[in-house]
């Protein structure tokens, strides 16, 4: 069946099977093909695709244990983040790290070692994983943690499913008093100002900025930064006190069909970006205000299948991180290149990362990360190759969970611990890797 990632590019005909119980895994491995685990397909490119066998983990969605004393949750890898939120927010718990959508699985969060708006303070999701169970090529299940199979543990955090099938994960939730975030918007009129805002907001748990990708010259890097922190019960305004830990509302907006990608042109993107900027200014004047976590962390989840807005050919996301010292110059060069190309990006997102974690292939490193969305068009490839060059020149790397087109050598250069990763992977699965994806083939991993 035709499968793709969230970007709907590339689409590949894959043999799809569903794992319902771990006892069935040896039988599937017995077929002798290579395979890759797939969560909810929210990675953008080709990471969760394998024509020979793609193993859906969505039916492995049982919760196994929760310790209300410590916040330690043990669940199967196919449990959606949204389920965890619906179950535990009303009880006063929140995941330590969440990506920009709640429609991911726990397995996908581990395999991509996802970061949130709090990376500068809290690191990646992997940092909160106490242990996981991993099924290897021979069908045996190993418990991996910092003390048991430690190398395999470090390779699996951010390992993009290439070390085996994650069956279950034990990780720590963090207590919250309310479901509301005190959020504040701040406007920056250029990149220097923006980075100064990030530095000044280090003590805020969450921070993220939207960047106007069409602004150039003196206004290059202008945008709106949002910072926030969970509210305590005592600070909640009276109108919210009746149900301080309310979960996300149900119901979604629909994008009816594929929107012609011609709608996304210089003019519409220009208007959109200008509107965002104006709205940001208005919000900045309004000052800090309580926002429900669902709107703060997952604004796009209210719109079903918004990826269709990018038209039939799909979209690619370009996300890179540059080391701290190179960020000011490097991010400016990236934005300049995008603005010059005229292929504006609807969503330009800037985040500040703290130090790299333990995952051998984890994406974050200390510095700034920029993420951009582009509809797939004839000139897109050339533009992205150009961006790669800038990223490389400044010692940065791209995020594999978003990638669909990067060249193997760029990834080798960007991930210095790749050799260590490959060694662990070879040891775990022998000379011929059993766990492989379109991404690993493309990148010769």
């Amino acid at each position: 069946m035709m499968l793709s990632g969230w970007g709907r590019y590339p689409a590949v005909d894959c043999q799809l099977e569903r794992l319902r119980r771990h006892e069935d895994l040896p039988g599937l491995l017995h077929r002798g093909t290579t395979l890759i685990a797939r969560g909810n397909g929210r990675s953008y490119g080709d990471a969760a695709l394998n024509p020979e066998l793609t193993l859906s983990m969505l039916a492995m969605n049982r919760m196994r244990a929760f310790d209300a004393g410590t916040g330690l949750l043990d669940c199967e890898a196919g449990v959606p983040l949204a389920d965890i939120l619906n179950t535990f927010v009303p009880r006063g718990w929140f995941p330590p790290v969440v990506p920009g959508t709640s429609l991911v699985t726990v397995g996908g969060m581990v395999a991509a070692d996802v970061h949130g708006k709090n990376h500068h303070r809290d690191g990646t999701f992997g940092a909160y994983v106490e242990s996981l169970t991993l099924a290897g090529a021979d069908g045996t299940t190993r418990t991996c943690s910092r003390t048991e199979n430690a190398d395999l543990f470090r390779a699996t955090l951010g390992g993009m499913g290439l070390t085996g099938v994650i069956l279950s994960v034990r990780f720590r939730l963090r207590p919250i008093e309310t479901a509301f975030v005190m959020a504040e918007a701040l406007v920056a009129s250029d990149l220097d100002e923006m980075m100064a805002l990030f530095e000044a907001s280090r003590d805020w748990r969450y921070s993220v900025a939207w960047i106007d990708c069409l602004a150039r010259g003196a206004r290059l890097g202008r945008g709106v930064m949002t910072r926030g922190a969970f509210m305590e019960r005592a600070t909640l305004p009276p109108r919210l006190t009746s149900d301080p830990l309310r979960p996300a509302p149900a119901g979604k907006l629909q994008v009816p069909a594929d929107v012609p990608s011609a709608l996304l042109n210089r003019v519409s993107i220009g208007i959109f970006n200008a509107l965002c900027y104006r709205r940001g200014r208005r919000r900045a004047r309004a000052g800090a205000r309580p926002v429900h976590f669902d709107r703060f962390f997952f604004p796009l989840d209210r719109i079903e299948a918004w990826n269709r807005l990018y038209g039939r050919r799909g979209l690619v996301q370009y996300q890179c991180v540059l080391p701290k010292g190179e960020s000011a110059v490097g991010i400016a060069a990236l934005l300049e290149r995008v603005a010059a190309s005229g292929q504006g990006s609807f969503l330009g997102v800037l985040k500040l990362f703290g130090p790299a974690g333990e995952g051998l292939m984890s994406f974050p490193m200390e510095g700034y990360s920029l993420a951009l969305d582009f509809p797939v068009r004839s000139g897109t490839r050339a533009l992205l190759d150009g961006l790669d060059e800038i990223t490389h020149r400044h010692g940065g790397r791209v995020y594999l969970a978003k990638d669909a087109r990067c060249a193997p050598e760029r990834v080798r250069e960007g991930y210095p611990r790749l050799d260590a990763f490959e060694a662990v992977r070879a040891e775990a699965s022998g000379a011929r890797p059993r766990f492989a994806s379109e991404l690993s083939r493309r990148l010769a991993l």
Binding site: E17, R18, R20, R21, A59, R62, M63, R64, A65, F66, L73, C75, D83, T87
Partner: protein
């Protein structure tokens, strides 16, 4: 209408449809009773409910092919449930069923004999109490014997007829019987089959329909609904013609 169900029992709770029904029932029941033949896997389902919800869950081992036809389950149930849903079934392999009498018998017993005896025994106890809802998951395959799966289909036909008769008998006793006829559902049973999207439901859809049918005291439901008119037409096709439609 939407009052809480005190106690709900799901037999076949380790199936995809059974799991979905149990989760939907857990949202507004006080106690959930799960029954299945594999104790270890049942334990995992029970644990899942315990972590997610406040509902009280108990597990019971039940194999409908056991000597006593699962009647020991009834004695174990504490309390007697207000709603009991039986999801047990086996598609089997038609070719194998044709060649091997034991295989055919297992399909017949799993879809008809076992579930019917169990539902019948439950009905007796519900009748004594004077209340309760029984739900049997049968199939559209029981509407007419088709070349491709008539062993399974005939057993489902038996189960459907049994439920229909039981419903009639219980009509004056305060006990209600619901027959559920799914068309295609994406589950372990149909893995690898090429199913038509418009006619194929998810287990969650079946679960929502089942709980709505319990609340509204419906007699027979089709999931998806489109199957009702389709089966209406299919039943009307004369046998002379139907026998040539062998590919169905």
């Amino acid at each position: 209408m939407n009052e809480r169900i005190e106690t709900a029992l799901v037999i076949g709770a380790t199936s995809d449809i059974g799991r979905a029904i149990a989760h939907t029932l857990a949202e507004d029941s006080r106690t959930l009773q799960l029954a299945a033949r594999d104790a270890a896997r049942l334990q995992r389902e029970m644990q899942d409910h315990r972590v997610r919800t406040e509902v009280a869950v108990t597990a019971y081992r039940c194999d409908v092919l056991d000597e006593d036809g699962g009647v020991s389950l009834l004695d174990a149930l504490d309390p007697l449930p207000d709603v009991a849903v039986c999801v047990v079934g086996l598609l089997g392999d038609q070719t194998e069923s044709r060649r091997d009498g034991t295989a055919a018998e297992q399909v017949m017993r799993t879809n008809y004999v076992g579930p019917a005896l169990l539902m019948g025994a439950l009905a007796e106890r519900f009748e004594q109490r004077g209340s309760g809802v029984l739900v049997g998951v049968s199939s559209v395959a029981g509407e007419r014997g088709r070349t491709s799966n008539y062993v399974y289909g005939s057993a489902k036909a038996g189960f459907t007829a049994f439920l229909s008769g039981l419903r009639g008998r219980m009509a004056t006793s305060g006990v209600h019987v619901v027959t559920v006829k799914p068309g295609f559902v994406y589950t372990r049973m149909t893995d690898g089959m090429d199913l038509p999207g418009r006619l194929t439901a998810t287990p969650e859809e079946v679960a929502t329909a089942v709980v709505a049918a319990i609340r509204r005291r419906r007699d027979v439901i089709y999931v998806r609904r489109l199957w009702r008119p389709i089966m209406f037409v299919l039943r009307a096709v004369p046998e002379r013609l139907f026998k040539r439609m062998s590919r169905l």
